[in-house]
Each structure stands twice: as C-alpha cells, then as structure tokens.
C-alpha cells in the first residue's frame, strides 16, 4: 500500500543551525501539506502545495521557514536559523486533489525536531 514517506524521522540540532526535512507524497497526489504539531496540540498547517505552486502559506514564518516542491512531486521544508520554539513534530500529508475538493489527507510518520 502506498504511503507518504518522510525523512529524517528524528533530528536534533542546536539553535541558529539550519535544518531540512524531506517528504515524498503518494504517487499521483497533486496536493501536499506541511503541518507542525507542538506537543499537546493538534497539527497546524504551515504550507499547502497544489502541484508545484503554493496555495496557502499564511501560517509559515517566512523569515526563517521555506518550502519548495520544484517538480510537483517531493518537497523540502527548511528552517534557518532554528530556534528553541521550533521543537515540534513536522508532518507531511498528501491528497489526490485539494483545491475546493473534498479528499482524504494521508499523513506521513513525521519528523521530530528537537532544538537545543
């Protein structure tokens, strides 16, 4: 069964360092989402792609976070520089169709980031 893949699963870094997370969605899924989940809270959307285009990045802290999906397939989320408050689980999800549609989102296992 196809699944969303993410790497690394765990990342420990020091503040002010740069980190990057990778996500490979289910093949054929046009929409890709990056969520941040702080301990004790629900996932919060950071950025949503429709193919290679960003359709929502209103909650992405753009001074330090960036995301790309150059060929409309896999995606990278980067943080530079990392801050203590960035410690969280970063989840990637994908769905068949996003815009205006009603489609199930399939989640990856997440990357747990710890900033020291």
């Amino acid at each position: 069964e196809a699944e969303v893949a993410q790497s690394p699963r765990y990342k420990i870094t020091e503040k002010s360092q740069a980190v990057a997370f990778w996500c490979d969605p289910i093949s054929g899924h046009a929409t890709l989402y990056w969520y941040r989940q702080i301990l004790g809270q629900g996932p919060e959307l950071l950025v949503q792609f429709q193919d290679e285009s960003v359709v929502d990045d209103s909650q992405l802290p753009k001074d330090r976070f960036s995301a790309e999906r150059l060929k409309g397939v896999d995606s990278t989320l980067k943080i530079q520089p990392a801050e203590l408050g960035d410690s969280a689980m970063y989840l990637c999800a994908s769905s068949l169709v996003g815009a205006g549609g009603h489609n199930e989102q399939f989640f990856g296992p997440g990357t747990r980031l710890t900033v020291l």
């Binding site: 699944e3 969303v4 929409t31 989402y33 004790g40 809270q41 629900g42 996932p43 919060e44 959307l45 949503q48 429709q50 359709v55 929502d56 989840l91 769905s95 996003g98 815009a99 205006g100 549609g101 009603h102 489609n103 199930e104 989102q105 399939f106 989640f107 990856g108 296992p109 997440g110």
Partner: protein, 110 residues
C-alpha cells in the same frame, strides 16, 4: 476564522461502556468535519467524515449545526479504541485547509 475545540484532553472509560468525544467548531460557512485518529506508534489517519454518514469501527458522528458540534460516539468501547482522536474542520474555499482541535486521548481500561 475557523476554530475547533475539544474540551477534554483525556477521556478514560471502561471496556463496554459508551464513549462520547466532544467537538465544537466555529466557522462562518458550511463546514466539512472529520475525525482523525492516531493509534500508538502509527500515523494520523482519517476515521470518518460527516458527509459520508458512515459508521467506522462502530464509531458515528452527527453534525449538529444548531449547537455547532460534531461529537464522536460509540456505544461499547473496546480496548483497541485507545488512541488519540482529533476533530478537524475543512474550509470550503479554494484551498482545502484543515484546522485541527487539540485532541482527546481515549483510554479504554478493563
């Protein structure tokens, strides 16, 4: 702005007892609501959606627009129901953004 509230962080019930996980929402349009579940050491996955009006693993949820609620119910809890449950609301704009609640941990004990 859309908002989802799950008032209970932890719900502990005995096996065979009824379960009700509460979810209230705030949204100006016509909402689409979901319940997602995360079992121990597994990924977050969709449990059910209100438009399907289906029962999954014995769980049902009815959208009550008057009370702006979407509570998840099961008549008889099973041990394997122990998990983290998230209520989520999807907007109906061009970007299908999901807004999650803070989650409720369901603990089913013998």
């Amino acid at each position: 702005a859309q908002r989802v509230t799950q008032p209970e962080k932890l719900l502990s019930v005995f096996k065979g007892a009824p379960v009700e996980l509460k979810c209230n929402y705030s949204y100006s349009g016509s909402p689409e609501l979901f319940w997602y579940v995360q079992y121990s050491r597994q990924r977050l996955q969709l449990l059910l959606r209100h438009i399907s009006r289906e029962s999954i693993k014995g769980f049902t949820a009815d959208l009550n627009k008057g009370e702006t609620s979407f509570h998840l119910k099961k008549p008889f809890a099973q041990e394997e129901d122990s998990a983290m449950y998230y209520c989520a609301l999807q907007n109906t704009g061009t970007a299908s953004k999901l807004t999650f609640g803070t989650g409720t941990r369901l603990q089913v004990t013998l």
